[in-house]
């Protein structure tokens, strides 16, 4: 296993797109969260001056969503919007192998067919770890930056770190599957973005509001999106919203099970195909 990771690292470390992805994620995660945190704070402070009841309530109920321990949840939620950045890299890494025909050469040189897939899975584990580490650092920094006396509660809600990792791994696995099946980077990327950003959102709304079913929770991306529900402050006020939020939180364990099963199926499919097909 370690040998496989070492070889993948030989491929990745001089690949410019990898460092681009790394830099963009390292800029986007703190940037986006900082902007949202700052806007929220400003709105709250300005409205508080006007003594608007709503903002008073908001502050009472939620505090600052980027304070500990809420920062773990809030940062995870906003960072997870940008999964398409590492997804581009994942698709490039597999389609490159097809373009250069190294998916054949690696096997000719001595890897078994399964080892090739295992190596690619390791790539995705590593990329998911990198995004999780960046998210953790950003979340921690914002928690300290926006702190208003809650530092002692930093260790609450740490479960969002593994949840963020699993969500990244699950969604990047879908990206890998598309790249693996479609082979052409631009088509795979197009399908990934079009489906994840447009088609699935339409399906979710349709199933949720029009048909009033819970089937939307089984859609490939929504399944793992539900691991990190909309944070309380962004959900709105009122008893209905509070109930919905609580329900979403308590649904996390089941969504985790669905996600793990679905992601395992993706990889089983990749291994089976790799075993049988002509490379």
């Amino acid at each position: 296993m370690f040998q496989l990771i070492k070889i993948e690292w030989l491929k990745i470390k001089r690949y410019p797109a990898f460092w681009w992805m790394f830099s963009i994620v390292a800029l986007t995660y703190p940037g986006v969260n900082l902007i949202i945190g700052t806007i929220y704070n400003h709105t709250l402070v300005r409205n508080a001056d006007k003594k608007e009841a709503l903002s008073q309530i908001a502050k009472m109920l939620f505090g600052n969503p980027f304070e500990f321990p809420e920062t773990w949840h809030t940062t995870a939620y906003f960072s997870s919007f940008f999964i398409s950045i590492p997804a581009i890299l994942v698709i490039m890494l597999i389609s490159n192998e097809y373009t250069y025909k190294t998916h054949r050469q690696n096997i000719i040189d001595g890897w078994s067919r399964q080892q090739f897939i295992t190596a690619k899975m390791m790539d995705i584990v590593i990329i998911s770890l990198i995004t999780t580490i960046i998210y953790t650092l950003v979340s921690l920094s914002l928690g300290i930056y926006f702190d208003d006396g809650h530092l002692a509660r930093w260790a609450e809600q740490l479960q969002y770190i593994p949840l963020f990792f699993i969500q990244s791994f699950a969604q990047l696995s879908i990206a890998f599957l598309l790249g693996y099946l479609i082979k052409k980077a631009f088509i795979a990327l197009g399908v990934f973005l079009f489906y994840s950003l447009i088609v699935e959102n339409i399906l979710v709304s349709y199933l949720k509001w029009k048909l009033q079913t819970h089937a939307y929770k089984f859609l490939p991306f929504e399944m793992s999106d539900e691991l990190i529900p909309v944070p309380a402050f962004a959900g709105g006020f009122g008893k209905d919203m509070r109930d919905a939020y609580e329900a979403a939180l308590s649904a996390i364990p089941m969504q985790l099970v669905y996600t793990l099963i679905f992601t395992s199926l993706i990889w089983v499919l990749c291994y089976k195909l790799q075993e049988k097909k002509d490379l």
């Binding site: 070889i7 030989l10 491929k11 001089r14 054949r104 050469q105 000719i108 040189d109 001595g110």
Partner: protein, 297 residues
């Protein structure tokens, strides 16, 4: 004698097309085995199957009389095109080859790049290489770590005449060292110069295989000519011993069963019948002639 590779009844279909049809052959240790055939005859399909990147529909194959996966790393291969990471240099590409195959070590990388004359450009990116340089790098990758078996698909593709001669010498040298070399090619001249065994494929069928001398030399050909060609043909028609007479533009070819042609007898016969020959030579049938004979009908 140990069989390096045994191929048993391999068949491969792409939809309705039979790319390979029940092909079987053995590659003994230490031979240079040439797989020949026109374009689309199944050469690369055969090599693809024995290198585990294509799946045969039926049949099987053994490397070293054992499960192929156990022996992959003893085989240096070049299949179809040079496959490398475009954004990496020659050295960094070979580091990956070395790590995956476990053949050789980092010092061997410089050595194989020296053998194929790429040392000067070893730190340039693969994407900047010419076709010939890419092919040289692929040969270097196959040679890395001095493997006992080499599988080479069109090894001289894209090389200049000097490069072709160098590779031919290299293959001869490796064969002398006792390496087993399996080579696919449509350059017959090349194969004739280096191979000890050949297999000829046509449309997925194995037409003939075995020792190169047995495959080629099954007939003696004698070429004769005289200033009065018509008279010569008349008297030759009365001569016995040969199986076939073919009139060419500048000569008359007489075909004899292997080892039965005797030039002095022919010369004497013609002279006694009043014709003086101005040409009398014995030819070995070239691989090219044999190839056309086998693949054209």
């Amino acid at each position: 004698m140990q069989q390096i590779l045994s191929v048993n009844n391999l068949s491969k279909q792409y939809g309705k097309i039979h790319a390979l049809n029940n092909v079987s052959f053995n590659v003994p240790k230490g031979c240079v085995y040439g797989i020949l055939g026109p374009n689309g005859s199944g050469k690369t399909t055969t090599l693809g199957i024995i290198l585990d990147i294509l799946k045969a529909n039926t049949g099987n194959f053994l490397w070293f009389e054992d499960n192929p996966q156990n022996h992959k790393t003893k085989i240096g291969s070049l299949l179809e095109t040079p496959n490398f990471y475009h954004y990496l240099s020659a050295v960094n590409n070979l580091k990956i080859t070395q790590a995956i195959s476990g053949r050789g070590n980092e010092n061997d990388i410089d050595e194989v790049l020296e053998i194929v004359n790429l040392s000067q450009r070893k730190n340039s990116k693969f994407s900047t290489y010419s076709l010939g340089m890419k092919q040289r790098l692929a040969i270097a990758a196959a040679l890395l770590g001095n493997p006992d078996v080499l599988v080479l698909d069109e090894p001289t593709n894209g090389l200049d005449p000097v490069g072709i001669a160098e590779i031919r010498e290299l293959i001869k040298k490796l064969a002398q060292q006792g390496k087993t070399i399996i080579m696919a090619s449509h350059l017959l001249d090349e194969v004739e110069k280096v191979c000890t065994h050949v297999a000829i494929l046509k449309k997925g069928n194995l037409l003939v295989n075995g020792n190169v001398n047995e495959v080629l030399a099954n007939e003696d050909i004698v070429e004769v000519n005289a200033s009065d060609k018509q008279t010569l043909i008349q008297i030759l028609n009365n001569m016995s011993g040969y199986t076939k007479l073919v009139e060419e533009k500048n000569a008359i070819q007489l075909f004899y069963p292997q080892g039965t042609a005797q030039l002095d007898t022919i010369n004497e016969y013609c002279f006694n019948n009043g014709v003086t020959l101005n040409m009398l030579t014995q030819k070995k049938k070239s691989l090219e002639a044999k190839f056309f004979e086998l693949t054209n009908n």
